[in-house]
Amino acid sequence: MASKRIGVYICHCGVNIAQNVRIDDLRAFAAGLPGVRVAQNYMYMCSEPGQEMIRKDIAENRLDRIVVVACSPRMHEPTFRNAMKSAGLNPYCLEMANIREQCAWVHKDADVATAKAKSLLAAAVTKVSLLEPLEEREVPVTKTAMVIGGGIAGIQAALDIADSGFKTYLVEKDASIGGHMMQLDKTFPTLDCSACILTPKMADIKNHPNIELLAYSEVTDVKGFVGNFKVTVKRKPRYIDENICNACGSCAKYCAIAIKDSFNAGLSKLQALHIPFPQAIPAAYVIDPLACRYTREGTCRQCEQVCKDLNAINLDMQEHSIELDVGTMIMATGFEPFDANRKPELGYGRYENVITGMEFERIVSASGPNQGQLLINGKKPKEVVFIQCVGSRDKTVGNEYCSRVCCMYTAKHAHLVREKLPDAKITIFYIDVRAFGKGYEEFYDRVKGEEVYYRRGNVSEVYRKGDKLICRGEDTLLGQALEVPADLVVLAVGLEPSPGARELGQLLKLSKSPDGFFLEGHPKLRPVETGSDGVFLAGCCQGPKDIPDTVAQAGAAAAKAIIPLAQGMVKTETMVARVRAEACRACGYCVDACPYDAIALGEVRLGRATKTAAVVNEVLCKSCGACSAVCLSGAIQQSGFTDDQLLAVIGAIGKEY
């Protein structure tokens, strides 16, 4: 092993590092370490002159290893790698000692911080001398995207990607796209009709030449990596061929089985053979196999008879899976309204005049069960109470977060009540009113002016007294207990992550933030990226959002998802696992431990003989190193984090200097 020619560069980071770490001491120490040819310091190593310093030394002193003693490698490792690359040095012969976040910023005493910096520096020098040059690789990208979830987020993202000229699959678990937005009556603060602004976009999905809609389908497996995902999509049998069905509806007349209408939040019934709602896309009927007499009992088949000519109905349709190659993916799996049964003190489920905000939307919707009339048990309510923050900002149900839309949709609801029932008494219980969007504060102001009583405080209990409901709470502004009678109580339920998205998140290896929503790559700078390259987030799956934010984020996610498709190539991991077949005993531990199925046992040549050994697919390897720790013989090693390198670092970092 030829001795290494190491350059050490110590950054002052302005005063960030220099004020707590004695740079001159550190440089003198570095200069005396084995293998170090050059030790320099500079005000800002990441600046152009700082990088130039490294490039110059590489050329003049024939340096082959670089140690940058500065900030976190999570920050500037790519910067210095690029600098090395441009100077003709392998960018992986770099090690950073993080003396800003781990030293200068957290230890005030300069003696202590300098001593610690020395051991971090010595460890970095030790490691860098053992690093080997690594090769960067690129693989071609499948120029196709997939969007999972057909709500407004998914619809927008799919349209944006498709408009850029890339084929896009839109996968929706339900029989129609549209999502929760389709269920809303009006949208705040402008009171547009929700369906009116959404359905044109849904039609665009249907008609777009670059979009392939996979409704009534679920993603069951994802393999591969950015640019080269292999996605398995389960196509549930709809029993009616969506490409043939012309939505004439004749068949439905003959279906006698009634089921709850989930589109109407269960407030009305429809047949087992139904179209989810009139504007559904695909515009085709579907049969609920859990209800259909034929699929359950094997008799009936009346509908098939009705559709004999068109022959769109096939009750023997089977579930099947298809495998799709896609380059990038967008998660747009949305939210689920908080289940109000989890707050039993509020009477939901017990009293039929306690309803959720979503149910209210359907009741007041012209397409809803009451054709838009606000009737409870056939009567117009005289006193209406809204309770905000149900399932939000509530540690007792495990949701600390604010759902961001409930204040505004409650204001909208109050306004709709006022519109329909000019004489009703309307009370809103709130904790804080958050009206932060464009036009929101103005709308809130307007609603307040419509004789809507905002009472600050939580409702602790809703109980029945005679033919009224009593909402008992406290007005925290007045500091007095309060009992408000009501004919209708509307619970402003919050938003929770969609339960079905959980497994999907695991398939895609997405992290979740403490609130259970998917975690973005960085809260500020990578708001639509994820920890998994090539997977992006749109809409409420990342956190509660209103419609404009959702649409904006969907556009952003689409733009990000287009980048690798447009580039055509992606870089693969460099610090991949490597196997020394001589030592491999082919036990398969690494094969089982690899979360990416990147390792398989295979026959390898060893001299003239062949031997069974672990073989790494370097394109699939994500450099976690799990294989290296389970290998009993040390045959498989993660490049850049080998046993040899880590043991040397352990030795160096444990010493006094």
């Binding site: 001589e582 005993r585 531990y589 089982d592 389970v630 009993l632 013989s633 040899d644």
Partner: protein, 325 residues
């Protein structure tokens, strides 16, 4: 002696078969209470075989070696290898097959219901002058020992190997043929482990310091272990060097703890490491501690199920979070 007779009959038949390359069994030793492993290739060698409480070795250790008797590396694999196993030994085959160490179809496993083997150190202390090959058999609850022309009877419990006193199951698993005898099985109560755990930390530290300091790193524990068979042992290597060549307490501690850890979820408790240790280090007191904890923490038992994946490549999301901040 019946087991010996049956074994010889099986061996004669097996060694006459085309598809069997050799048979690993036990034969009379060179002196005193010793039996020794042997590798037979011809039917007429069958009468060399014995089986008695002196057959202490776990012969499955040989299955992964580069040379088995007269067979060199190139010859191994040309035919099946027949091997004589006791109940504990047979579990090693289960683990070895599960981790591709050997292929079951290349083996012909001859199981023997062993009634328990002697503790050689104990018996040699009791009969220190045995030079002529002695004979030991188990009759009822006593060993009958014929040594230097005299016969003695000693209660089984006084001379039997401690591992046999907590034998999980003496019925060998997954055999092609079995020499039957009395069956017994029990649950290890790990009382000795619990007692050691109950001692103050300093006392345990002192105990292991004394024990590991006396280790001379002859690697007999590793080499006698049927599950230590890496062609290159990570604990031997200089790059990366986990364990240094110095023989002293820190390195020995590292060596033994790393080895015990490599065996966690794999050790089938045949006790060979402890038996062969020239320094009498109680290695099974460490291995069994891990076996007990692995069962307690993860519901996992080495060699219990041929289909199970290795302990450390599987997990349950609700595995204990013990001691994690």
């Amino acid at each position: 002696m019946d087991a010996t007779k049956s074994l010889r009959a099986i061996a004669r038949e097996v060694l006459g078969r085309e598809d069997i390359a050799c048979l690993i069994g036990y034969e009379k030793g060179s002196y005193g209470f010793r039996a020794q492993p042997c590798v037979l290739t011809e039917p007429d060698q069958a009468d060399r075989l014995i089986f008695s409480p002196l057959c202490v070795h776990n012969l499955t250790n040989y299955l992964t070696l580069e040379q088995i008797g007269p067979l060199s590396k190139a010859d191994i694999g040309k035919g099946k290898i027949a091997v004589v196993v006791k109940g504990c030994d047979s579990r090693a085959i289960t683990v070895l097959c599960a981790e591709n160490g050997i292929k079951r179809e290349n083996l012909y496993v001859i199981g023997v219901h062993s009634p328990g083997v002697v503790d050689l150190k104990k018996i040699e202390r009791r009969f220190p002058n045995a030079v002529e090959p002695a004979e030991v058999s188990l009759e009822g609850d006593s060993f009958t020992i014929t040594c230097e022309g005299e016969t003695a009877s000693v209660p089984r419990s006084e001379l039997v190997n401690a591992k046999c006193l907590r034998c999980k199951n003496n019925v060998p698993q997954g055999c092609d043929v079995v020499v039957e005898g009395p069956e017994h099985s029990m649950e290890d109560d790990f009382a000795d482990i619990a007692a050691l755990e109950a001692k103050p930390l300093e006392e345990r530290a002192h105990m292991w310091q004394e024990q590991f300091s006396s280790c001379i790193r002859c690697y007999a524990c590793r080499n006698s272990c049927p599950l230590c068979y890496c062609s290159e042992c990570i604990l031997d290597k200089l790059r990366p060097q986990f364990v240094r060549r110095s023989v002293d307490f820190p390195e020995n501690l590292l060596f033994h703890s790393a080895r015990a850890f490599h065996l966690a979820g794999r050790c089938i408790e045949c006790g060979e490491c402890e038996r062969v240790c020239p320094q009498d280090i109680p290695l099974m007191v460490l291995n069994r501690k891990l076996a007990r904890d692995v069962k307690e923490l993860f519901g996992y038992e080495a060699g219990a199920d041929p289909e199970q994946k290795a302990l450390f490549v599987t997990f349950k999301p609700d595995d204990p979070n013990e001691g994690i901040l």
